[in-house]
């Protein structure tokens, strides 16, 4: 173990850990302010905000010799007997100087800046800046221009940390952003005719420590301090990025990536980032209905469990289509329920939405072609209940062979997912129960229509393409008229009270060996289910 001394406190770091001063100090609970440094990007040491005093302790005598000049902590490795001083007058002076410098030409237009409230410049100035402004320059230009479809640059707010430039060079490899001009006239820009339009472009907004790069989609829609953040998992593809859903009064304003070294590191793709619009789409289905003799009539949710059970028992042979949009818990509960009704019921894996090819970026981030969050999880559940996996296409082709009396379809797809012919086939029997979020050919033919939940309204766990299971709680309440699948299945199983995804997952982990790694609860960053397969 290597010992590092931070402000007089000793901390231990691993011998093979390569930490810089900022990271080592973080271990000791000391926050060293920084703009240009980001763990996922190369070190440039140019903002000079993380200046500290460093030295080396002689392990034999215990004597500390300090460097005469201040150094950037981001560039200084923490090794055995390294000494960092982050709170001396000299360091405070240096921080105050950098803060003063950064505000000389900054418009200080915080009242109309989207970043206000989560801005490093604000926070650091509050903590490390001078109480008075000595520069009598009063800039207020606030020039802005689009960098691409998703990002707006507010030129004068920029502190030239170049995180965004490095991101497009090192992570996406597309290099759209650059620095133009020199000295105090420097600006971030794109080359004319080559806008910032790669599939990870939205990340530069997260990287920007100040309000210079604004998310055009989010711009001026909400003050950040009104939003509540909920840890969640992106349902856009089988990568399953860890995200936070930021909402106010059940309206989602933006999604942000959440650091997870096992899955997405610090990034997420634009498709996922802006892929929440359907949650608040006015076309969402919100009325549970049944087809009566005189057309559709509404049904109360409280009556749904009994009604559905009656229908199913009446029918006898049941086929159940399990959507890969369901959570592990939902799929498990639904399968258990169906098995209670009909031990011979056919369990079918719903259609797997696939768009294009998997797309990887130089640093390894991958956008998967499989546009559903929980294929692995649902497959594992189906394996438990059904000796062979029946795919949706096989089921439609050999529908007469299976010949069910009742079909229950779970959807949750964002876009068209079923053809009119397939819908006709499914509707050829007496009872067709459909749970979905948008109208579809099969919804229109259903005898029982049950509006379902979108990803941010669900509670439970997804398993991504690399067998990483992540659990999450609901972020927003579903619209009136919708009952989240998990809650419905919980009731149908006759459980009391509110749906409890955690206890359900524990049950599943006991029942299905694939999930056993999740039995002790799931940490924030998820759990690797492969651990058990190896053992």
């Amino acid at each position: 173990m290597a010992t590092v001394i931070i402000d007089g406190n000793e901390i231990e770091i691993g011998d093979d850990e390569r930490l810089n001063g900022i990271q080592a100090a973080r271990r000791a609970g000391v926050d060293i302010p920084h703009y240009c440094w980001h763990q996922g990007l190369s070190v440039v040491a140019s903002c000079r905000m993380c200046l500290v005093e460093t030295g080396q302790r002689n392990p034999e005598t215990g004597e500390v010799s300090m460097m005469p000049r201040v150094v950037p902590a981001c560039q200084t490795p923490a090794s055995d007997n390294s000494v960092f001083v982050t709170n001396s007058d000299k360091v405070k002076e240096a921080r105050a100087m950098v803060e003063e410098d950064l505000l000389i030409r900054h418009p200080i237009d915080c009242p109309i800046c989207d970043k206000a409230g989560e801005c490093h410049l604000q926070d650091y100035h509050f903590e490390h800046g001078r109480a008075e402004r000595r520069a009598d320059i009063k800039p207020f230009t606030s020039r802005r221009r689009p960098m691409g479809d998703t990002v707006t640059l507010f030129v004068d707010r920029c502190v030239m940390c170049t995180r965004c430039v490095r991101f497009t060079r090192e992570i996406t490899g597309t290099s759209e952003l650059m620095v133009v001009n020199r000295g105090a006239n420097e600006e971030i820009d794109v080359f004319p005719g080559y806008p910032l339009n790669n599939k990870l472009s939205g990340n530069v907004v997260d990287l920007c420590p100040v309000g210079a790069l604004g998310d055009t989609d989010f711009l001026y829609s909400q003050r950040v301090w009104f939003m509540k953040k909920h840890d969640h998992v992106c349902a856009g593809c089988s990568t399953g990025c860890s995200i936070t859903v930021e909402e106010n009064q059940d309206k989602i304003y933006r999604l942000k990536p959440r650091e997870n070294e096992h899955i997405n590191h610090w990034w997420m793709c634009d498709e996922g980032r802006y892929g929440f619009k359907h949650v608040h789409d006015s076309a969402r289905l919100t009325e549970p209905r049944i087809l009566g003799e005189e057309g559709y009539e509404n049904i109360e949710w409280s009556e749904v469990p009994q009604f559905v059970e009656r229908e199913l028992r009446k029918a006898g042979r049941v086929a159940e289509i399990i959507s890969p949009h369901l959570t592990v818990e939902e799929a498990f509960m639904l399968c258990s329920y169906i098995r209670q009704i009909d031990e011979q019921a056919t369990l079918i894996l719903g259609p797997i939405p696939t768009v294009g090819e998997d797309e990887s970026f130089p640093n390894g981030f991958t956008i998967h072609a499989e546009k559903c969050p929980n294929l692995r999880g649902v497959e594992a559940v189906l394996n438990k209940f059904s000796p062979t996996l029946t795919t949706f296409d096989t089921f439609i082709e050999q529908f007469d062979l299976y010949s069910p009396n009742t079909v229950w379809v779970t959807g949750g797809y964002k876009s068209d997912w079923i053809s009119a012919e397939a819908a006709q086939t499914l509707a050829s029997k007496n009872t067709l129960i459909v749970q979905d979020i948008f109208s579809s050919p099969v919804w229109k033919l259903a005898t029982v229509q049950l509006p379902g939940a979108a990803f941010a309204e669900r509670q439970g766990s997804y398993v991504n393409c690399n067998d990483q299971l992540q659990s999450f709680d609901w972020a927003v309440r579903s619209p009136a008229g919708v009952m989240v699948e998990g809650q419905l299945y919980w009731r149908m199983l006759g459980r009391s009270g509110l749906y409890n995804a955690k206890s359900m997952l524990t049950e599943i982990a006991r029942e299905i060996p694939y999930f056993s790694a999740a039995s002790g609860g799931v940490p924030n960053l998820g759990v690797d289910l492969k651990i058990n397969q190896l053992a």
Binding site: R48, R69, D101, E132, R133, E186
Partner: protein
């Protein structure tokens, strides 16, 4: 014993820039001789001469070469820094225009010594004549077999590529130069790794100044002892002073009767340079101050003209160092405010903009000086300017490269050494407002102040 110019010996000959003229004075003998020696012998000789880099920092050249990794599989690159952008400096230009072969020969010997088989000749954009003549000289060398594959049957191969800069001061910083050479924005790199370990194209790289390699040629010709026979010996009380030896090209400009480039042993004083070489201050006036070595080195006041212009001299007078040994004389009729304003304008324009303190500090200083010049100065501004001068630079630790120190030194020297004149100027031009303080955002007001 009168000093015989060595570096400038040929510049006044007719067609001094051609190979025949150069060879008629013994040119390329050193190169032929060097190829007979082992590289380590050459490095030893350069080390023995105590040659220090002529580009500004005065780093010992032989020592720099030994930082290269031993037995490296290669390639090792050699960059010749001919991006001579320091205001007042033109010694490299004269060498490259009037004696380009001398520079090339020195460069070849240096490449051979360091094991580089590729050299990049990085010349600043503004030197078209030097560019043309160096290019022509390079062609002559290839024709004569001094360059190319298996040079003169020695088995050693060397190619030199010319690279023209795009007129940015920062490209004179060695890692800025390397970045620029690689086709990137000339933002100096963070060190370590130093170029000797990882430089151009991520390979070990040496960056040396034009005059430095020219000296290498003469050390090969005349030996290390000759080189050490002139200059200022090391200070025995300062173990970190390797001494200042050899001839040096002094650029003299400004308010003198005979401006020009003069060669003299290191260590002559500013006064000697002005009076003996420059024929004194022009128009019978007195010097107010002298820039010892390019504007970034700060200024010597009229009382400090006995400062020896060697590597350690100007530092004793609170200047940054010898720099490029480009002395600019400023007469006593010139306003120090104008001088500092001009200097600040240069650095605000040329700051590369990478590190916050330099980017914002230089521009803030210029804006303050603009205001002072416009008659709205305040005494308090001087303290702020001094603070900027004291706080930016690699010596304080707030920037990546040393050019920020160069921006800081004129500021702090001018204000420390001529504060009375600044105060006088402010009081004269802003008689009513010179004590006004700027608005304060948050201040506790004394009780009952309303």
């Amino acid at each position: 014993m009168a000093f015989e110019p060595v570096l400038l010996a040929n510049i006044n000959k007719d067609e001094s820039y051609t190979r025949p003229v150069y060879e008629s004075t013994g040119g390329y003998q050193a190169w032929r001789q060097a190829l007979q020696m082992s590289p380590s012998e050459i490095i030893d000789q350069v080390k023995a001469s105590n040659l220090r880099g002529r580009g500004g920092a005065g780093f010992p050249t032989g020592l720099k070469w030994t930082f290269l990794p031993k037995d490296h599989a290669g390639p090792i690159y050699f960059c010749l820094n001919a991006d001579e952008s320091e205001p007042g400096t033109f010694n490299n230009r004269i060498l490259m225009e009037d004696d380009p072969h001398q520079v090339l020969e020195g460069l070849m010997i240096s490449c051979y010594a360091t094991g580089a088989s590729t050299a990049y000749y990085y010349m600043r954009y503004e030197y078209p004549l030097a560019w043309g003549r160096t290019q022509a000289a390079l062609n002559e060398c290839y024709e004569a077999g001094y360059l190319g594959d298996n040079i003169l049957g020695s088995g050693y191969s060397l190619n030199i590529y010319m690279h023209r800069g795009a007129a940015a001061y920062i490209c004179g910083e060695e890692t800025g130069l390397i970045e620029s050479l690689e086709g990137k924005r000339a933002w100096p790199r963070i060190k370590p790794p130093f170029p000797a370990v990882e430089g151009a194209f991520r390979k070990p790289t040496v960056v040396n100044n034009v005059e430095t390699v020219a000296c290498v040629k003469h050390i090969m010709d005349r030996g290390a002892d000759w080189f050490k026979s002139m200059g200022t010996p090391a200070d025995p009380n300062n173990p970190r002073d390797p001494g200042s030896y050899g001839p040096k090209l002094y650029c003299l400009s400004g308010h003198v009767n005979q401006p020009g480039c003069y060669e003299a042993p290191l260590g002559l004083t500013a006064r000697e340079l002005i009076d003996d070489f420059g024929g004194g201050v022009w128009k019978g006036r007195k010097a107010k101050c002298v820039i010892p070595g390019g504007i970034s080195m700060g200024i010597l006041s009229a009382d400090e003209l006995d400062c020896p212009l060697d590597f350690s001299g100007p530092g004793k007078y609170k200047c940054l160092g010898l720099g490029t040994a480009a002395a600019v004389v400023i007469d006593d009729q010139t306003s120090i405010v104008d001088f500092l304003h001009n200097s600040a304008r240069f650095f605000a324009h040329e700051s590369c903009g990478q590190c916050t303190p330099c980017r914002e500090g230089t521009s803030w200083a210029l804006k303050m000086l603009n205001r002072i010049k416009a008659g709205r100065g305040r005494i308090k501004d001087l303290d702020l300017l001094l603070e900027i001068g004291n706080k930016i630079g690699i010596s304080y630790g707030t920037t990546i490269c040393g050019l920020a120190d160069g921006a800081a030194w004129p500021l702090k020297n001018a204000i420390e050494k001529f504060r009375a004149e600044f105060e006088d100027y402010i009081k004269r031009t802003n008689p009513d407002g010179y004590m006004v303080t700027e608005p304060v955002i948050a201040m506790e007001e004394p009780v009952g102040s309303h």
